[in-house]
Amino acid sequence: MSTRSLAIPVWAVCALVLLLVPAYGSPTFVDLAFRTASLIVLAISWNLMASAGLISLGHSAFFGLGGYVGILSANLLGAPFWLSLVGAVIAGTLLGSGLALITGRMRGIYFAITTLAASEGLRVIAVMLPDLTGGAKGAYLKAATFPGVLAINLAMSLVAVAACIIAWMVSRSRFHYAFRAMRANEAASQMLGIFPLKYRTAIMALSGGMASLVGGVEVWHGGYLDPAVAFDLHITITSQIAPILGGIYTLSGPILGAIATVFLGDATRIALGHLQGASLLVFGLVLVFCVLYLPQGIQGGLLRMLGKRPSEAAAEPKLSPTVATGAAKP
């Protein structure tokens, strides 16, 4: 298939652009690439959990925790950039797996509300510990060694590329089937020998680590963090708007959606920024129309344009040849 063989070079070029922009782009493009890369990781992270049937309303919990681990490890322990990011990933992984164990068999709305509560809880804790976090006033990054703007921007791009590769690897593995089965019917998947808690813990640890890493990089980029910024509901919402806009449960959907969301947000702001509130209104309206007319997201729309039936199978690996031939003769 020509489109399939075309896909790999196209994505490779995209990755290369994302990695080259921090070094060679104009400041506007560097900023754009940073925000896009950040949202790509958050969207992939959200989509990974969603594909196992876990709808998160608390991605800002991971993001904020990563941010605080980043800033506190730098300020209090003098950790360099890279080390503080390692701390952020570990913290996010622990929070993700911890939440998985706490939520147990909760599904749907109950799970979503629990993640929302976790995010709010962390925000309140951050406010209540002014000696540590600076409380509501926030804290400035006072790093012993500053890696430089280029390194930070490049790190974000690298993280985005890595997240794409991880998502691709997950989609190629047999775990992918377990996640899909859990999403469809957790009890039925258990009857087939899949232990839901194990996979739930694994996917939430992975997803949490990714989102926390974004928080860690962002705090080095911004240099400031307060609880309202760290645990902002806006982060939770954009990290699910992007995959839904792009194509939920798919591989390329979160990436396309993240690019579209950043682009749309900027375009409406530049075009309508002088009218207060108008840009957000138009942004919202465009999203509503996208959901109405592109129910399978941008990815589904593109596939339809190429004359293919959009389906989940599009993002899935072909079966191994031994299995396929074994099955061919009845």
């Binding site: 089937y177 469809a184 899949i194 099955a327």
Partner: protein
């Protein structure tokens, strides 16, 4: 000779309400045993308890001589207890092939996947024709074949079928049971739940009749076919004290109402 599956004084329920009061039954290697009973008798609850989806309140579930009551559901699949659940519960958005693939998810089953694919597609040529079709778009009979095939993919030592005739046309029921009979000829032990008494007794060696969470009667298929007890259990009459003794010599539990 130890039984492959043995339930001893099993008591199970949901929340506060008890469903199985006191169920004891056994199934030997290579045997086909059916569990009959009216709605709400506890048939599905029994299969759910054996497959580990429900934890027993008391009593024992022994598989190949080992008490498995505390083993979680996903590990029981590794032991070889595979269930084709009530209402089929195939994954509607998965293709036929992917559904079967999921059936062989456990480590042991994965190693024999190609062989099991051959077997299942050979048993149900219909499924082979529809490999790439989404399961949700198939007829009830085809979905039932898929559910049985998916359970077979797990390389069962004990296959459990929960109401394979549910909601199917009479002709399709015959097709499904023909397949069950074919599987049975290969020596697989099967425990199945059925409301359709005639279809069930055609295939089964022995049967148990459940009523109000207790074994009301047990016997060979021939015995049960002529027994008024079966009719009584279905029509809701109080089970009488007449017990048709099982072929393997264990007495039928009789409720003392």
């Amino acid at each position: 000779m130890t039984a492959l599956l043995e339930l001893a004084n099993l008591r199970v329920g949901y929340g506060q309400s008890v469903v199985l009061q006191d169920v004891s039954l056994e199934l030997h290697q290579g045997e086909i045993v059916c569990l009959l009973g009216a709605n709400g008798a506890g048939k599905t609850t029994t299969t759910r308890a054996v497959s580990g989806l429900l934890a027993p309140w008391s009593g024992e579930i022994r598989f190949a001589g080992e008490n498995i009551a505390s083993i979680p559901a996903h590990k029981r699949v590794e032991l070889g207890i595979c269930l084709s659940p009530e209402g089929r519960q195939v994954f509607p958005n998965f293709s036929v092939h992917e559904n079967l693939l999921l059936g062989s998810y456990s480590k042991k089953a994965r190693q024999r996947r190609a062989e099991m694919f051959d077997e299942v597609y050979g048993l149900f040529p219909r499924l082979a024709e529809r490999r790439t079709q989404k399961a949700g778009l198939m007829s009830g009979g085809e979905q039932q074949m898929l559910a049985i095939g998916r359970a077979l993919m797990g390389c069962p030592r004990l296959l459990m079928l929960d109401e394979p005739s549910l909601g199917l046309a009479p002709k399709i029921i015959l097709d499904v049971y023909e397949a069950v009979a074919t599987i049975a000829k290969r020596g697989l032990s099967i425990l199945f739940v059925e409301q359709n008494v005639q279809a069930a007794l055609l295939v089964a060696h022995r049967g148990y009749v459940l009523a109000n969470g207790q074994i009301a009667a047990a016997g060979t298929s021939a015995e049960l076919q002529n027994s008024t007890l079966v009719q009584e259990a279905f029509l809701g009459k109080k089970p009488s004290l007449l017990a048709t003794d099982g072929a393997r010599g264990h007495s039928a539990a009789v409720p003392a109402i």
